[in-house]
């Protein structure tokens, strides 16, 4: 055994050093935070944001910010997101200050109400402007809360997903069904909160736990690959002789995993096995062999292991993955046809601020560009109102990306100037089908001209400065296209470059195979990135992405194989087990 000092790997075992903050917004967010505090979270700073001062005062988190102190005078928003947004804007300085010290921020929020839906997009925007790596855990309201709240939630989710590096949605309807169909309301909510807080904790642990075989942020992104729509998550911890088996069993039992059956469909699965000093190689091997039984042959297993003294005698298994909705996979297929660009595009979470992403020049896109000149902003109108900024008149020339903050918008002339400088003739910018998880605002990039407006930094667009070489790019810089995009990325990248290194350095100790579909994650990654931009191929693709997006909002568990003649019936779920699957097979596992 070769001995080495772990710190030489340049990892960050101490999360406070790395600056992790968990922000709970609104009532639901505060509940999750309280749950985390209850379970003893010394790993991260907890920050509660709320408009209702009474709710805020009962929160147990270490930091609290009251939103809209003067606007609402300590009352709630009464379910009005506009008030929530204004309240957040009022506290913008405080929020900015609180977020600034962190490198990584988890936001948990229950969408649908006033504070959550209104303030969360603002907070996310601020966080991104401060250059943090942002993961959002959003809870969608119960359907019985009504269409209106659902609409508010969807609008908010759409806004949030523009800013966040990763969005994981939990559907309350689904959670209720999965966890405790017959138990009391309090237990049901507690269980839902617990699942969310566990996911946050596990995500944190996975990334920060000292690793022998380390898992980095890039692995996490790869596992949550955004054009796959549904997030799977399982966590198990066990002690005793048979702990490796039991921990895995527990992890697979998590309702989001549906006993591990859904793993079969996943393209990449992140598995971390961690334990105290007593953990043996044999145990790790045992777990991994078991996991291998559950995943398909094509699945990439991102494996990590590490020891943590705090775990004592227990062993934990964390499984994070996501699976494609049918629409997402067909979309991927469509993309695969466009050879040059496909790999980059398929990565919903890949850093979009890497200018290279927009670069590939694709004949298909050229053909498509003029055809799809804008008039159809993809989101169907019934679903959510197009942002006011999506001005249709501008359509034929530019479709400015929808941005909340009006100040971000530069006058149109400037866009035109940029384009003119690049001597680009083709004028059409169209909003785009985007990978489901991140409906990032997107521009139809015509091969020649390009500027992809990515969000908070849109203002950088106006600066036609010469691009400074930023991060070591995976692709060599080529055309002016590239350069323009870089200009956009400039501000952001410079803020985030530290983080990039951090993550990059974590890669050294990693052992894994790379999925050919995920090359953009290779090499140093800029984690605080934007959702990538995909040029729209055609209307059909737009539809597909729309479908995928809608599906994304549900954490669905599809009926899976193994149920025989009951494959098409409602699953009979008792204690998280699908009773239609032969008992014999379930017990054997």
């Amino acid at each position: 055994m070769i001995e080495y000092h772990q710190a030489e790997q340049g990892e960050f075992s101490d999360t406070s050093e790395f600056g992790v903050k968990v922000i709970g917004i609104g009532g639901a967010g505060a509940n999750v935070l309280d749950r985390m505090a209850l379970e003893g979270s010394d790993d991260a700073e907890l920050l509660t944001l709320n408009t209702d001062v009474r709710a805020l005062s009962t929160s147990v988190s270490s930091q609290k910010i009251q939103l809209g102190a003067t606007l609402l005078k300590g009352m709630g928003t009464g379910g009005d997101p506009t008030l929530g947004k204004q309240a957040a804007i009022e506290a913008v300085d405080e929020i900015r200050k609180a977020v600034r010290s962190s490198k990584m921020v988890f936001v948990c929020v229950g969408l649908g109400g006033g504070t959550g839906s209104g303030a969360a997009p603002e907070v996310c925007r601020i966080a991104r402007e401060e250059g943090v790596f942002l993961v959002v855990f959003a809870t969608m309201p119960f359907s019985f809360e009504g269409e209106r709240r659902m609409g508010q939630a969807r609008t908010a989710l759409e806004q949030i997903s523009r800013y966040a590096n990763a969005v994981i949605t939990f559907d309350n309807d689904r959670m209720g069904e999965l966890i405790v169909p017959k138990d009391g309301v309090a237990q049901a909510f507690a269980a839902a909160d617990k699942i969310i807080s566990q996911s946050i904790r596990a995500t944190m642990n996975v990334v920060f736990r000292p690793g022998i075989i380390r898992i980095g942020m890039d692995d996490l992104l790869s596992a949550l690959d955004a054009d796959d729509s549904r997030c799977l998550f399982g966590y198990g911890v066990a002690k005793g002789d048979n702990r490796s088996h039991e921990a895995l069993e527990q992890a697979l039992k998590c309702p989001l995993l549906d006993r591990g059956k859904l793993l079969n469909e996943a393209r990449s699965v992140l598995v971390q096995v961690a334990g105290g000093d007593t953990m043996t190689l044999f145990e790790v091997q045992l777990v991994m062999e078991e996991v291998a039984k559950h995943v398909g042959k094509q699945t990439q297993i991102l494996f990590g292991t590490g020891t943590d003294k705090r775990l004592g005698n227990s062993l934990t298994v964390t499984i994070i993955s996501s699976i494609a909705g049918p629409a997402a996979s067909s979309m991927r297929a469509a993309q695969a046809e466009e050879e040059s660009a496909a790999p980059a595009i398929s990565l919903g979470m890949a850093p979009a601020s890497q200018p290279e992403l927009t670069q590939p020049i694709r004949p298909v896109a050229i053909a498509a560009a003029p055809v799809a000149p804008v008039p159809a902003p993809i989101p169907p109108v019934e679903e959510y109102e197009p942002e006011p900024e999506m001005v249709v008149e501008e359509a034929p020339v530019f479709e400015p990306e929808p941005v909340d903050d009006a100040s971000v918008f530069e006058p149109l002339e400037e866009f035109e100037e940029v384009v003119a400088e690049e001597e680009v003739a083709v004028p059409s910018y169209a909003p785009d089908p985007v990978p489901p998880l991140h409906r990032a605002p997107v521009f139809q990039a015509d091969p020649d001209e390009v500027p992809e407006l990515v969000n908070p930094i849109a203002r950088a667009m106006a600066v036609p400065a010469e691009p400074a070489p930023l991060s070591p790019p995976p692709f060599p810089p080529q055309s002016h296209t590239n350069e323009v995009a870089r200009v956009e990325a400039l501000t952001e990248s410079s803020q985030k470059i530290t983080l990039t290194r951090v993550v990059g350095s974590g890669n050294t100790g990693r052992i894994k195979t790379r999925d050919p579909l995920a090359p953009a994650l290779d090499g140093p990654v800029l984690p605080p990135a934007k959702p990538p931009v995909i040029p729209s191929h055609d209307a059909a693709a737009a539809e597909l992405s729309e479908e995928a997006r809608q599906q994304q909002e549900l954490l669905q568990l599809d009926p899976v194989a193994g149920r025989g003649r009951f494959a098409k019936t409602d699953p009979t779920i008792v204690d998280g087990e699908d009773l239609d699957v032969p008992t014999f097979l379930r017990k054997k596992r």
Binding site: G562, R563, G564, R565, F566, T569, D570, T572, V574, L579, D580, P582, T583, F584, L585, K587
Partner: protein
């Protein structure tokens, strides 16, 4: 009411559609006139998934029943079940007006209304609300408080409810045949009418009806229903398990289950059984029994858990009655006894006149029970005055049996 009445019970089960035509004579005796049945299709877990197919089966069963009984069937009592059916107990309390000393039937109405007024999910509707006991000024278990003196009247009700639309779908399917549905009855409520006698209900008994698609149960203590429910797992699941684990077709799995399988692992001799068919595949008896044992154990545990939690099991003086087609399985009584720790007997319905083999077969407990149910329902009608409402018919059946 001296004239005899003819009732028809219809059960659209997962494995068979069964229609029983019965005559209730003036003296209360029941004679079964004819039975029509047909293997069913388009039913999963006790609920209709393919109405057209079901109607074909139903029509066939109807033809046979009419032919054999020589009766033209117009209205039926329909047994319903399904995972959506749930039950709960609720107590209602009223204060009797001061000037009025005696408890009147109107008071019973009132208290019943209050007891029934439980918040159900908005898509659910009542199937049954069954009186358990009345309490007058704290004195408990009074079967009929009308005429008693008292100020506080309480009533415990057992309420069975289910998703309205899912029940309506079953009714719609039958109506399109066309047959009129006189009433719907939760399957185990019907089966209990013939499987459990009054003594068993009073001393405490649990009826478990393991059918093709569902397992329904109903628990009586002190003559009143205290729990009932439906687990959407039945014989089909066992067959499905065997087919999936052994990788053989469902039809062969079914044969294997019926001819060779046992739910118990005790006293088993491990031999190889040859699966029918050209492949001549051999299957170990041990494996087969293990598959069935695992499933049935789990199924019974799901039934066991809520009953044990509520503390009912220790009060079942008469033990457990197994019925339904899957109760014909070997070893199931042993296994049930092992899990519940209470004596178990397999049982069909009690004696009536008619083709006798029918009653002994536990497969027919529910449809025959429907006839009995209809009879009891009818017996109450003349007694009740203008105040009676249709929904109350069950009071006597369950509450009065003391």
């Amino acid at each position: 009411m001296a004239a005899s009445n003819i009732y028809v019970g219809l059960e659209i089960g997962t494995s068979k559609v069964c229609m029983v035509v019965g005559e209730v004579r003036g003296d209360g005796a029941i004679k079964i006139l004819g039975v029509g049945q047909h293997p069913s299709a388009g039913v999963r877990k006790g609920e209709i998934v393919d109405p057209e197919t079901v109607q074909t089966c139903l029509h066939d069963a109807l033809m046979r029943a009419e032919e054999r009984s020589n009766v033209e069937v117009n209205t039926v009592f329909l047994a319903v079940t399904g995972s959506h059916v749930q039950s709960l107990n609720n107590r209602g309390t009223i204060r009797v007006a001061d000037e009025q000393m005696e408890i009147t039937p109107e008071d019973l109405e009132e208290v019943k209304k209050i007891a029934r007024d439980v918040p159900l999910p908005k898509e659910n509707g009542y199937i049954h609300s069954i009186i358990q006991h009345y309490y007058v000024d704290g004195q408990d278990k009074i079967p009929n408080p009308v005429g008693m003196l008292g100020q506080k009247l309480e009533a415990d009700y057992h309420i069975i409810h289910g998703v309205k639309t899912r029940i309506q779908n079953a009714i719609k399917c039958v109506r399109e045949v066309p047959l009129e549905v006189e009433d719907i009855v939760f399957s185990p409520v019907a089966a209990a009418q013939v499987v459990l006698n009054r003594e068993a209900k009073n001393e405490g008994a649990l009826l478990i009806d393991i059918g093709g698609g569902t397992t329904d149960y109903i628990c009586f203590i002190d003559g009143a229903v205290v729990a009932s429910g439906c687990v959407p797992i039945g014989g089909d699941h066992i067959t499905n398990d065997i087919a999936l684990v052994l990788k053989i077709p469902l039809a062969r799995a079914e044969k294997l289950k019926v001819n060779h399988g046992s739910a118990s692992l005790r006293g088993m001799i491990d031999v190889d059984i040859t699966v029918e068919g050209e492949s001549g595949k051999k299957v170990s008896q041990e494996l087969l029994n293990q598959i069935m044992n695992a499933r049935v154990t789990e199924l019974l545990s799901v039934v066991h858990e809520p009953l044990a939690k509520a503390g009912y099991l220790s009060r079942l003086g008469k033990g457990i009655f197994l019925t339904g087609g899957s109760s014909l399985m070997k070893g199931i009584a042993d296994l049930t006894e092992e899990i519940f720790g209470i004596p178990v007997q397999k049982s069909g319905s009690a004696a009536m006149s008619g083709p006798s083999t029918l009653f002994e077969n536990p497969q027919y407990a529910t449809p025959v029970g429907l006839i009995r149910y209809a009879q009891l329902l009818d017996e109450q009608k003349p007694k009740r005055g203008a105040f009676s409402k249709l929904g109350e018919k069950l009071e006597k059946i369950f509450g009065g049996g003391k």
